[in-house]
């Protein structure tokens, strides 16, 4: 378990590197996928809810520190995201949850939650339209993230579940 913590944190840095340098090239109308959510969901499904909550907290902290965002916003949203992803963590059902379409649905849900919570904390505005908040800032980037997760999880070796 400790090695999983270390591995998940170490893997976060190259993923964030790709997120900030290469992912902008695949942006569609300013919408980019969030690779860190895919990584968070992946490790949470493998290791449980407490693991996911803690790693989400750490990911959020590192993300805020490195990108210069409002410190605490990504910490909060990714902590909740890791917790919610943990509800799908089950040792007996890993072969089901790691199927591409199921994994992408979990990523979609977690990504929407992460985006909405993050947006909520970066701007609390009474004029904010909740539908616009969920659609533009939650659904579209999350759909893109979920689509990318299908491609990435397809390369995950199935023999790991045995």
């Amino acid at each position: 378990m400790r090695s999983d913590y270390i591995a998940s944190i170490l893997l976060f840095f190259p993923v964030l590197l790709v997120q900030t340098t290469l992912v902008p090239f695949i942006a569609v109308n300013g919408i980019v996928p969030d690779l860190t959510i895919i990584l968070l969901v992946f490790y949470t499904l493998r290791n449980g809810q407490i693991f996911g909550t803690t790693v989400g907290f750490i990911y959020g902290f590192l993300f805020d520190m490195i990108t210069g965002s409002l410190l605490g916003s990504a910490m909060f949203s990714k902590t909740v995201t890791g917790f919610v992803a943990g509800y799908f963590s089950n040792e007996n059902k890993q072969d089901i949850y790691f199927k591409p379409y199921v994994f992408s649905l979990i990523v979609l849900l977690c990504s929407i939650l992460n985006s909405v919570l993050n947006r909520f904390f970066t701007s609390i505005d009474i004029n904010t339209n909740i539908i616009s908040l969920i659609y533009l800032h939650g659904l579209l980037p999350s759909l893109y993230t979920a689509l990318l997760s299908i491609i990435l999880i397809a390369f995950y070796p199935r023999r790991s579940f045995n």
Partner: protein, 277 residues
């Protein structure tokens, strides 16, 4: 008592951990403006920026040839415009001398490359490969050949973070170049909008928007964008003016930081956004 705690922990440990971490996150939100937190954040992003600059250089190598050709053409077009503007500049200088006005148009530029981008609908920031060692200070505007890109937010020795115009925290005073009407421009998550513009004001779609000389952040006129639409505000007395920026924030690679000398009087005003204690 101990058994009670063990029982509670056994049944609710996930929720206890969640609540504890959320409380820490909320407490951290309140510490954002502390100098110690800012310096740790500066250290973190500058350390990471070393790696992003390496990757960015590798990625940009492939597009250098095409960009060089595009820049040569642009160079030729600009040379023609510069010749014309030189004539106007000479005339302008003569007129200013006659009127005894101060020359405020010369600002040194620091060339920089974008090494990483954090694209988000609410907090878009970019990291540049220039920092305090190159003379960059928080509050300096960042431009490219199309217009204003953002404002320097934080600096380390070799890198700096820039809040782009598409950032909820950045509000800028802008002017309609034609009618000289001032307004506050902000990013609402979807569009750049100039808010609370009285409906009687003369602003039309297609008008050029530039930064206002009365701005405490960018007191020189820099191109921002074109008015793309006007919509009625919720109260009915004011309009919201949507602005399409000149700059392509996703595609931008090479930029310039304008080395604006701080106006001490303006800097000490309480309303100055970038006032540092």
């Amino acid at each position: 008592m101990l058994r009670f705690f063990v029982h509670v922990w056994g049944n609710f440990k996930e929720y206890i951990v969640l609540v504890a971490l959320l409380i820490i996150s909320l407490l951290t939100l309140s510490l954002n403006n502390k100098p110690a937190v800012r310096s740790v954040q500066t250290l973190a992003f500058s350390s990471f920026a070393v790696f992003t600059s390496i990757v960015s250089d590798l990625v940009n190598t492939g597009s250098v040839k095409a960009e060089n050709q595009k820049l040569r053409r642009l160079n030729a077009e600009l040379m023609l415009k510069v010749n014309l503007l030189r004539e106007y500049g000479i005339e302008n200088t003569e007129l200013k001398t006659l009127l005894a006005l101060k020359d405020s148009t010369k600002y040194p530029l620091i060339a920089a490359t974008i090494v990483s981008k954090s694209i988000n609908k609410s907090q878009s920031t970019i990291t540049l490969n220039v920092g305090s060692k190159d003379g960059v200070l928080p509050g300096m505007p960042v431009i490219n050949d199309f217009g204003l890109l953002g404002i320097v937010y934080s600096t380390s020795g070799d890198f700096c973070i820039v809040q782009t115009l598409k950032n909820l925290e950045l509000k800028l005073t802008v002017t309609d170049e034609r009618s000289r009407i001032n307004g506050i421009m902000e990013w609402d998550g979807v569009n750049l909008v100039i808010i609370d513009v009285p409906r009687t004001y003369d602003i039309e779609p297609g008008d050029r928007i530039i930064t206002s000389e009365i701005s405490s952040i960018v007191p020189v006129p820099l191109p921002v964008g074109l008015v793309s639409g006007i919509s009625k505000g919720e109260t009915g007395l004011f309009n919201e003016v949507r602005v399409k920026p000149f700059v392509d924030f996703i595609g931008a690679e090479h930029v310039f930081v304008i080395k604006l000398v701080k106006n001490l009087q303006k800097d000490n005003l309480e309303l100055n956004f970038y006032k540092r204690k």
